[in-house]
Symmetry: C2
Subunit: 257 residues, 2 copies
């Protein structure tokens, strides 16, 4: 297996970014959107951005090496801040390091049970909006959910507003309208999130990006999660509340795929 | 240079902890306190803790390899969550990975200029209290300070209370008393912080662990920072406010060293 030197700032300080891309029979799903988001993340963190061609070559190389070029696979691209610097401070000219790996994509999962995590998202931190290598809050929120017998964590922000799941964006349906927390709540700008909003517009469904506490879910008829690997995953329960299937969730899933 | 495989969770997700220890002529300063803090961090994160003997052997090995056994050196011990797992979720039995490196200790620095960072600490997150591999908020706070012409960042928490610096604990002196933010503000339980509090007690100086906004610094006669590598570092300025030297700072530095 490939390795990185122990002075890499991604390893030492979580200084870097990543993308997880669905590959279907060698086609990298929404590749340009992933490259663009990684570039915006680099701008936010003050890192040089990778070239799209290098990312594509690394992704293809990782798929080939894993024997997954023709499969349904998850490609992870990691862009660390590279080696060097003095403690927290980067070298004057950071030389980021690109790492790529591929694994079989997760199988379609049953509807998810969510519990609300005690760890809240911090909108003053870039970590709340970017896929950074400092992902331990998400690891710990998921761990809390799994230990409570659930599949995934619902995360609020420090103001108590709905934000997202540990590894997915959050949506719900109420009164025929689609809702999702606004990015300003401390939410990753999910690529599948954007695709669902576009699909809603195409279907003539009003979509609302909202800042609100969890009490707004009292009116929800259905809840679902999205990310690049799972696509859309319906939610069967949030804390003590059960949710059934909903025809609009099926329509959005079909329209966004 | 030593390397880690690219499936290490420390690299991929910032899932792990570290300690930075001052070594003076082969003596690891406050070694037991560092081992103990690392153990408490493992408990908080749900990771197996390393054995003290393994940590000591790794530290000595790193010092020898760097030719710094007889020097004043900084030893970094990194304890990652190891390889494996599925996405955010760790394997059923995580097998952490120990990494050690050594470098020349930083030279005693001039008094520090601080500016208040826009990134705030999140007391609901274990990241605010532990030295984790998800340290990007600290990297970005320091970067903001350096870009503003300062040396270090003062970090508040989400409630606007004083917390700490990006890589140090915060103290100030007012009316003959010593103050430092309470750990509950989202503060690393610094080993030099504890030593300064003990030194104050020995000198008969009243010490107060406080929850307060930065307005309390209006009464401060002196401000200083502490960490295991720098020991005690006086502050010359915080935002627009200048601070002079103070005899009690010198006495505490001498008593804690």
């Amino acid at each position: 297996m490939q390795s990185v030197p122990i002075d890499d700032r991604g390893l030492l300080l979580g200084d870097g970014l990543f993308e997880t891309i669905l590959s279907q029979a060698g086609r990298l799903d929404a590749f340009e959107a992933h490259v663009s988001r990684l570039g915006r993340g680099c701008e936010a963190l003050g890192l040089p951005a990778p070239a799209a061609g290098d990312l594509r070559a690394a992704a293809r190389g990782a798929l080939a090496q894993a024997g997954l070029t023709d499969a349904r696979a998850a490609v992870r691209l990691t862009w660390t801040a590279g080696s060097g610097g003095r403690g927290l401070e980067r070298p004057a000219a950071p030389a980021p390091r690109l790492i790529a790996s591929a694994a079989a994509a997760p199988a379609p999962a049953a509807r998810a049970r969510l519990v609300t995590a005690s760890i809240r998202r911090n909108p003053t931190s870039p970590l709340s909006r970017l896929k950074t290598l400092s992902y331990l809050d998400n690891v710990m929120a998921r761990r809390e959910a799994v230990r409570a017998g659930a599949d995934e964590a619902l995360m609020l922000n420090l103001a108590g507003e709905l934000a997202c799941a540990a590894a997915a964006n959050l949506f719900w349906i109420a009164g025929g309208r689609l809702f999702t927390p606004a990015l300003a709540c401390g939410v990753l700008d999910g690529i599948m999130r954007a695709r669902i909003l576009t699909a809603a517009a195409r279907l003539g469904v009003e979509a609302v990006e909202i800042r609100s506490g969890p009490d707004v879910l009292a009116d929800a008829e259905a809840v679902f999660l999205t990310n690049s690997l799972i696509g859309l995953r319906a939610v069967s329960a949030l804390d003590a509340r059960a949710f059934g299937p909903h025809p609009l969730v099926e329509r959005l899933a079909a329209a966004a795929s």
